[in-house]
């Protein structure tokens, strides 16, 4: 797979079809694979592809430093590609403005260290990208149906959350108070997220201040509520925020709660199909309102 990837990228750069390839590199063998930006055909040997390629490169498509380089080719896994679908729905790029190279995931081995990555892959429904210009590799036999927008793995997908919701509200609040008290407001969660592309985030607003910037429990709670809700129906569950958090906060649970709500209430799953109207921003006359008094 890696040779095919490097050849494809080399050709794209040589022909001038793209000006930069956003992919994974691993400049030192001891490092985790990290994003690289290849602008010269001879540098495509820096590209790697292995089971540690976690980063969601779709996050770079909206950054101005990358846009300044020209038309990009971006390497995506199935989960990353969902982010591209949402970004395209939100008019963050035109489809012919980027070249998508899809990589089929072999099932990523569980590291056994409680890495949330293993959790997301266990219930993944999109192991092969569906809308790429070129797809490299094939899904393993028996993996979930390609292109399916149904919630075929919904039962396992929200298992962690369902387990968590068995706690009482007081227990849940106590849990989040402990988790969120570790937050230092570094915003790594925001910066790795492909959906957080606002030039000026709500938390940076200060005339007037909408959300406390202080890393107190009040400020942290307000921030995480805001970020989770701004992702409602947009978060594709790539879990990069959870991986990036230096304090190890279980952000996955928060995002899952909104993803589950969108699926159960509106049969909507972010990033599966460009044509389905986004869940926030559209409405139906038949939306349920049992909770309204």
């Amino acid at each position: 797979m890696i040779d095919q990837l490097r050849q494809t990228c080399k050709k794209l750069l040589e022909e001038g079809a793209v000006q930069v390839v956003i992919g994974y590199g691993q400049d030192k063998p001891s490092m985790m694979p990290h994003p690289v930006f290849i602008t010269k055909p001879e540098d495509t040997d820096r590209l790697v592809w292995n089971d540690l390629c976690f980063a969601n490169l779709a996050a770079y498509v909206t950054r101005k430093e990358i846009k300044a380089l020209g038309k990009p080719a971006v390497i995506v896994k199935g989960c990353d590609e969902r982010a591209l679908v949402v970004l395209e729905q939100e008019s963050q790029f035109t489809r012919d403005g980027i070249y998508v190279i899809g990589m089929a995931c072999d099932s990523l081995p569980a590291s056994g260290m409680g890495n949330p990555r293993a959790a997301k892959c266990a219930s993944c429904a999109v192991r092969t990208p569906r809308y790429a210009d070129v797809t490299i590799g094939e899904a393993a036999v028996g993996s979930s149906a390609v292109g399916s927008s149904s919630c075929s793995t919904a039962d396992t997908e929200f298992a962690d959350l369902d387990e968590f919701m068995k706690k009482t509200p007081a227990e849940r609040l106590a849990y989040w108070k402990v988790e969120l008290s570790r937050c230092v407001k570094c915003y790594a969660c925001r910066e790795v997220c492909p959906m957080c592309y606002c030039n000026r985030c709500l938390v940076d607003k200060n005339r007037p201040t909408a959300i406390d910037t202080s890393a107190t429990i009040k400020g942290n709670l307000a921030w995480h509520i805001a970020r989770a809700f701004h992702q409602a129906g947009r978060c594709v569950g790539c879990d990069e925020c959870t991986r990036a958090c230096p304090a190890g906060i279980n952000l996955r649970l928060l995002n899952q709660s909104l993803a589950k709500a969108a699926e159960r209430a509106f049969a909507y799953k972010a990033g599966m199909d460009k044509e389905t109207p986004p869940v926030i921003g559209s409405y139906s006359l038949e939306d349920k309102e049992s909770f309204i008094e």
Binding site: D27, M31, V184, V192, D204, A247, G248
Partner: protein, 348 residues
């Protein structure tokens, strides 16, 4: 001659400090396995082996992430200001890595430069740092490249070195009091003196040097406009994971938080990597692009601060590199720069 203390006795001491109302900070394992320096309620929470470095630093003991500096209340047309006394609770940091302790003397320069920061100084005076010498290191450690090492004693009041087995059949630590504060903490509390020959204390040599700070400083002086900055730091996303967990990063933002009745003025951590960090009131941003922000970070740490205060603003702990979501961090940036400097490529 060294003093020794068994692990159990050490933990008993910690519980005693806690009972006396002192704050004790040390490495603690959090819910999902990440290890952070955090206040402990009982000594059993402390993790003193089995990892290389916590994911954060000890600077919170002297420079908290959020600190009220005064409060205000509105009284009709009047505003009443009330001073806030700095927190002087006695604090003991136990199990700090030498690279974390070394940051305190470095920070002392800044917080006593053009203004004597009473909040920092009060906490600094009330804090005793007990370091635990390192027996191992990982690929992200580079203390030896910035003039430190696994048993460096800068900033440390007392150093513990773990010995696999003393004469007691349990894990013991050699204790060396380095300052009066350290002596006050451990004097008379250790298990007795043993000769150095009796206990073998394995200290690691530390990582091999990964770059020369003189090469770095030369590059920084001569390549301000280099496009290498853009290439090396292209993947930086501009979060604060590096700066906030760095033992020496100290930038802060001052904001007012309150409502119609009043509020407080608070000092919060800030990161030079945030896009809005240098936005002027006019709207102009002199560091509008990530490459400029990253360049500034490295310049500050390895040229500007040394020129100003004679100390490198980095202790080689590697926390930035371990935490960076895209695998950058100071170490990788410097290695890339050092490679360019070594190859003597004249970049435009």
């Amino acid at each position: 001659m060294s003093d020794v203390i068994s692990k159990n006795d050490l933990l008993r001491l910690v519980d005693q400090w806690l009972a006396e109302g002192k704050r004790v900070i040390g490495p603690v394992k959090m819910g999902d396995g990440v290890i952070l320096y955090a206040p402990v309620a009982v000594s059993g929470q402390l993790v003193l082996d089995g990892f290389v470095h916590p994911a954060n630093s000890i600077k919170e003991a002297v420079f908290p992430r959020s600190e009220t500096i005064y409060t205000y209340t509105f009284n009709g047309q009047e505003i009443e200001l009330s001073d806030v006394e700095p927190d002087c609770t006695e604090c003991i940091v136990i199990g700090a890595r030498p690279c974390d302790a070394a940051s305190l003397p470095i920070l002392d320069h800044l917080f006593n430069w053009d203004y004597q920061d009473k909040f920092y100084n009060a906490r600094r005076a009330a804090t005793t740092v007990v370091t635990l010498a390192c027996t191992e290191y990982d690929d992200d450690c580079f203390c030896t490249s910035v003039g430190l090492g696994p048993a460096a004693n800068q900033g440390s009041d007392a150093m513990l070195s773990s010995a696999p087995d003393g004469a007691h059949g349990t894990c013991v630590f050699e204790v060396r009091a380095l300052t009066d504060k350290g002596q006050a903490l451990f004097g008379g509390k250790t298990g007795g003196k043993t000769s150095a020959a009796e206990i073998k204390v394995p200290i690691s040599d530390g990582p091999a040097k990964k770059f020369d700070t003189v090469d770095i400083e030369t590059f920084l002086k001569n390549n301000y406009e280099s496009e290498a900055w853009r290439d090396i730091t292209m993947r930086c996303l501009g979060c604060g994971a590096c700066a906030y967990n760095c033992p020496t990063c100290h930038c802060f933002d001052i904001v007012d938080e309150g409502d119609a009745a009043g509020g407080r003025r608070v000092k919060n951590w800030d990161s030079c990597q945030f896009g809005q960090f240098t936005v002027h009131a006019s709207g102009h941003n002199p560091r509008a692009v990530q490459a400029q922000r990253q360049r500034q970070r490295i310049q500050h740490k390895f040229r500007i601060y040394p020129e100003k205060f004679g100390a490198i603003l980095c202790t080689g702990c590697g926390t930035c590199t371990r935490n960076c979501p895209v695998g950058l961090g100071v170490l990788n940036t410097l290695e890339a720069i050092a490679a360019i400097a070594r190859a003597s490529i004249e970049v435009k």
